[in-house]
Amino acid sequence: MKESRKKLLIQKIYTISSSLTKKELEDIQKSAYLKTELEIASRLDASIKAMEHEKFTPPPGLRNLVMRKILEPAYKIWHVLVVMFIIVISPVFLTWESEEYDGLLEQHLLITIFIYYGILITLLLLPLSYQIISKHRKKMEHIKDNFDEYLDSSIGKARNIFHK
């Protein structure tokens, strides 16, 4: 047998022996050396396939890690700080800019009311938002999908009406 033929057969034996043709198998059977290589390759394949697929036990803390990641709020702390800053500071700028309030109410009183309500609302909104975002994160993620579905069904209904 030519060297190039032998080399090709060896490559096929060790790559995908199931693709060997009848002629190639006949050639292999004629050579004790190739027969042995085919057996070696088959036994290697069988040993690898027989390896246990699930031999590792997940660590005990895995569930908590996964759930913590899933229930992590969608916002970061800096988002909250920026929102608070806007809520608290913007009334100050509004009242400074606006001349309409002059004479109607004491400037300091108005600013104090704004800041007070700003902080109060923020403190109420924070736990509420956390609850909504972490518990209903799945629903919020699918707002886009739900909206697309709504659009598709509306278009479908409109089409049906039009064709009637």
Binding site: A32, E37, M51, E54, F56
Partner: protein, 177 residues
């Protein structure tokens, strides 16, 4: 029609399967496997509303996990390049006299051969090991492995060939030690 899945129950049923998939894909690195598992379940939680019920929930999750894992591996493609190009272990050297190699065949008959092969498999270059893991454990054909890893099919076949030759030669060298 979309089917609903109990996420907690899905997690309980599949955590071992996904964790072991992570260990296989990421070379038994526990940290990488844990990161992988968290990412899988996070993505599953986000996409749970898209489950159509055409397959079992565990099958759906497994497919999602495998795609995610292969995506991560694809990003770090340099791992799939052969590191030790000058190694002789992955070269097949035909005997001059064409005599069958009884030594390696005898090694395969020994009781502890499975442990030796397993150890050698995990020590292979990533470029050889990964296509073999995908082929043997995930039942992926070479064409699909090539598409998933964005590597030519010929390269995949060549790497599997060299990986098996390296395993073969490792068994042969065990005798001479």
């Amino acid at each position: 029609m979309k089917e609903s899945i109990d996420f907690e129950e899905l997690f309980t049923q599949t955590q071992s399967m996904i964790y072991n998939l992570g260990m296989r894909l990421f070379r038994r690195n526990e940290e990488d496997a844990m990161d992988f598992v968290q990412d899988v379940y996070l993505q599953a939680y986000r996409k749970i509303g898209t489950f159509q019920g055409k397959s079992k929930p565990s099958t759906w999750l497994y497919s999602l996990a495998l795609n995610l894992g292969l995506g991560k591996i694809r990003k770090n493609k340099k791992n799939l390049l052969v590191e030790n190009k000058n190694s002789q272990l992955d070269q097949y050297i035909a005997p001059e006299d064409d005599q069958p190699d009884k030594i390696v065949l005898d090694m395969l008959n020994k009781k502890d051969v499975k442990e030796k092969i397993e150890k050698a498999l995990w020590e292979l270059d990533e470029a050889y090991r990964l296509p073999m893991v995908l082929f043997f454990f995930e039942d992926m054909p070479y064409k699909e492995i090539a598409r998933s890893l964005n590597i030519p099919e010929g390269t995949i076949k060549s790497n599997v060939y060299r990986g098996k030759i390296q395993l073969r030669n490792t068994l042969g060298s065990e005798v001479s030690l």
